[in-house]
């Protein structure tokens, strides 16, 4: 940082040139109140010199009022946002923080760790490339560690940094660090987490956060910040696995009809043979406008090719019907189109999920009506055990069969985060009541008529209600 300041003072234009080409990394921090998660983030911002004097002065004042660290400045107060949370001393919602180094801009999703906030953690994890899991060195791997790791793997985060915190309270013991790392490796293997990294830290005093600690001479690895700075998070993607959910049809005049959207996978070039889903019609790419290239002076810049995650506008050779919610793909790599999907659903609403009730399902830019026909099993987030249930409450995670009223093009979540994910919106309250990841797409479309065919007479409905009210042990489904 000191060097950076020198560079800034001496050659700002050179500095800006270097910083035009920074990468971006989004990470999630998982831990509970007493793990020192907010302290860790506060410490990172502070040591990375992202905290201004006036903010620090404000926090110093607040430390005396709400702080939990005695005379030291409570780093957690730098990040605990809402007044109500500060009073309670806990983080209850997802908060986003930012800082940058020479190499990268970082977006931190700071989420609460308690079980009742599982949905918040899922939310934060949905956009993260990396997760930092905090473990209290004195306590080792707890139920919550397992829960956090499960969510991280569920949301497809491939890189997990295990920060073994409060090393100062175990005399910076290498033994404790090694044992904890070993136990966690087993957990990571069980959950199929691809890459794990272990660091001994003390968030309170800043050991191995930004600066190397003198108290852990036995640790030869990187500090937390230098690891985040250098980690390779790029994913190999095949150009032909092009996925383009159509967002908006741009039609300024009779001569131009462009399809706007964000490329979520692969690449596209002028002349490419493309297929429109779900209709299956084919055409060729006539022109590509990369929105990023547009300037005030030139509204008609086009380019030869574009790749994810660019926001572009495509025009086609043939005038065929394409609208919002459709997906444009390469004709060489067409995903499955179906209305019957096997999904992993996270329920986020206080009102429980009812089988066969209609919800709005928003997948990418497509909104279709759909319902959950069957719960295959619910997963206990603490033990990973599977359980049979007939409805889902808030924070429940379950494998379900989802039936849509019309077919959509979809990939598995593990293949593509953006074409394999969806949210569930309640049609009366308009709340986001659930979020899901597509596990598999059924080949058959014959489930389409099923939803409409299940019509019950009033007496059948009354009988169903009677059974549900008087014989709950039968676990009869609602019709």
């Amino acid at each position: 940082m000191e060097n950076a300041n020198k560079k800034i003072a001496k050659d700002i234009e050179g500095y800006l040139k270097e910083h035009e080409n920074k990468d971006m990394l989004r990470f999630l921090t998982c831990g509970s109140v007493d793990d020192g998660k907010s302290t860790l983030i506060g410490r990172m911002l502070y040591d990375a010199k992202m905290v201004f004097d006036d903010q620090l002065a404000a926090v110093e004042g607040e430390s005396k009022k709400y702080g939990t660290t005695g005379d030291k400045i409570d780093m957690a107060l730098l990040v605990d946002g809402l007044q109500s949370e500060r009073e309670q001393g806990i983080t209850i919602d997802v908060a986003y923080r930012f800082f940058a180094t020479e190499k990268r801009k970082f977006i931190i999703a700071d989420t609460p760790g308690h079980e009742q906030y599982t949905r918040n953690m899922v939310t934060g994890a949905s956009t993260a490339d990396v997760a930092i899991i905090l473990i209290d060195a004195r306590k080792g791997i707890l139920t919550q560690t397992k829960r956090h790791s499960f969510i991280v793997s569920l949301l497809g985060i491939e890189h997990v940094v295990v920060a073994i915190n409060k090393m100062d309270l175990v005399d910076f013991s290498q033994n404790v660090f090694d044992e904890t790392s070993k136990t966690y490796t087993e957990l990571a293997t069980e959950l199929g987490i691809k890459n794990t990294y272990y660091i001994p830290v003390s968030a309170l005093d800043g050991d191995n956060i930004v600066n190397e600690s003198e108290k852990t001479p036995w640790y030869k690895g990187k500090t937390l910040l230098s690891l985040l700075d250098s980690m390779d998070i790029s994913k190999e993607q095949k150009a032909e696995d092009f996925r383009f959910p159509v967002q908006y049809v741009n039609r300024p005049n009779l001569y131009f009809r462009g399809f706007c959207g964000t490329i979520v996978a692969g690449a596209v070039a002028v002349g490419d043979e493309i297929t429109i889903l779900p209709s299956g019609k084919t055409t060729k790419v006539k022109s590509i406008i990369n929105a990023g290239d547009i300037t005030e002076g030139d509204f008609s810049v086009t380019c030869e090719n574009a790749y994810a995650p660019m926001a572009v506008t495509l025009t086609t050779e043939d005038e065929i019907d394409i609208s919002r919610g459709d997906m444009i793909v390469h004709s060489k790599s067409v995903p499955r189109v179906s209305n019957s999907l096997k999904v992993m659903l996270v329920w986020m609403d206080e009102n429980s999920m009812e089988l066969n009730q209609n919800y709005d399902i928003k997948r990418g830019t497509a909104v279709v009506s759909g319902s959950f026909e069957h719960i295959n099993y619910k997963v206990d987030v603490n033990t990973f055990k599977r359980k049979q249930v007939h409805s889902l409450g808030v924070n429940d995670i379950a494998s379900c069969k989802m039936l849509l009223n019309q077919p959509i093009a979809a990939d598995a979540y593990t293949t593509n985060r953006f074409t394999g994910s969806f949210i569930v919106v309640d049609r009366i309250t308009n709340n986001t009541v659930g979020a899901g990841m597509i596990l598999g797409v059924s080949r058959r479309e014959d489930d389409l008529n099923k939803i409409q065919s299940n019509k019950y007479t009033d007496s059948e409905k009354a009988l169903n209600q009677f059974i549900r009210e008087n014989f709950p042990e039968w676990e009869c489904k609602k019709v």
């Binding site: 940058a100 801009k105 956009t127 547009i294």
Partner: protein, 303 residues
């Protein structure tokens, strides 16, 4: 072909913001973009031009004019509207004008409430907008760090921070009932540095108030403010001194503190910002009124 190519952070942020703007245009019937003439608004306008080219942005720009903005802001605003041909809607609270509202007389709290918060509500009700695009960033203030990109507002434009809709991936829930609205913040994930770097890189026009020059300022409530017109009380004006100053944010001139500076170019501004030890909002008087001031204002409907 296998590629591992990644976009730079600014290109990723730009693409994300464009995605958000297009989502608004596609999902709402009557959106509007807040245009406050500042640097963040300038970036938003630029992003909107990019998102919908070769068309013009399919929504108007709304400026809530408190009648106490820097004069240059108004000139700049009107020129931009002519140059770019966007629809500009300007609203000032007529009740406030009738009262002779003045931050010098009524104080920052009352002025901001009547001219900004109430003025905004009037403008939104009059326009019947179901989506209001704003330029707030999450790095500006602690209560903003938890706000969603698509942030739901009830019929009274109130924000309920404890009951926000979960927001996952890049999928935004845009469902509302009649009379309700959503505020959308496309540059949520940008920092002040990102904004400046982008302005520099894309050569985006901004008011000259951001650049340092010799200006007449007076000491007022612990900050330096510009002598922008004759409405400033006589006894204050008498104390005016010429100093090299610029502004880090633009708002109502009596409520916006100037900083001493020699920065006359964008790189110099960025240099000053990077080496500075105080945050951007420090010059804003409204945040200091009370602890949690911004959270309270936001609940009431402020941007």
């Amino acid at each position: 072909m296998i590629s591992k190519e990644r976009l730079t952070h600014l290109k990723q942020l730009e693409a994300e913001s464009i995605h958000i703007l297009r989502e608004v245009a596609a999902e709402f019937t009557n959106p509007v973009m807040m245009y406050s003439v500042g640097k963040d608004s300038s970036v938003m306008l630029h992003l909107a031009l990019k998102a919908f080219a070769p068309s013009k942005p399919p929504f108007p720009m709304l400026h809530v004019d408190t009648t106490w903005k820097f004069q240059e802001m108004i000139t700049f605003r009107d020129q931009r509207a002519i140059d770019l041909g966007f629809d500009l809607v300007v609203h000032s609270n007529p009740k406030g004008i009738a009262m002779g509202m003045s931050p010098f007389k009524h104080g920052s709290k009352v002025h901001t409430d009547i001219m900004k918060t109430q003025g905004l509500k009037q403008a939104l009700n009059a326009g019947g907008y179901d989506a209001v695009i704003g330029g707030a960033r999450r790095d500006e203030e602690k209560s903003r760090a938890k706000e969603r990109i698509f942030s739901f507002r009830d019929k009274n434009h109130r924000w309920d921070p404890k009951n926000q809709r979960p927001e996952l991936w890049n999928i935004y829930n845009t469902a509302i009932q009649k009379g309700e609205s959503v505020r959308i913040f496309p540059i949520s994930n940008w920092t002040e540095l990102d904004i400046w770097q982008y302005i520099y890189l894309e050569n985006i026009p901004i008011p000259s108030l951001y650049f340092s020059k010799e200006r007449e300022v007076v000491e007022y409530e612990g900050t330096k403010i510009l002598v922008d017109d004759e409405r400033m009380p006589e006894e204050l004006r008498k104390t005016a001194k010429k100093e090299m100053v610029r502004f880090r944010t633009l708002g109502c001139y009596p409520l916006t503190g100037a900083i001493n500076s020699t920065a006359t170019t964008l790189p110099e501004i960025i240099k000053e910002m990077l080496l500075s030890t105080s945050s951007e909002r420090e010059g804003r008087i409204i945040d200091k009124d009370q602890e949690g001031a911004m959270e309270q204002k936001k609940i009431e409907g402020y941007f």
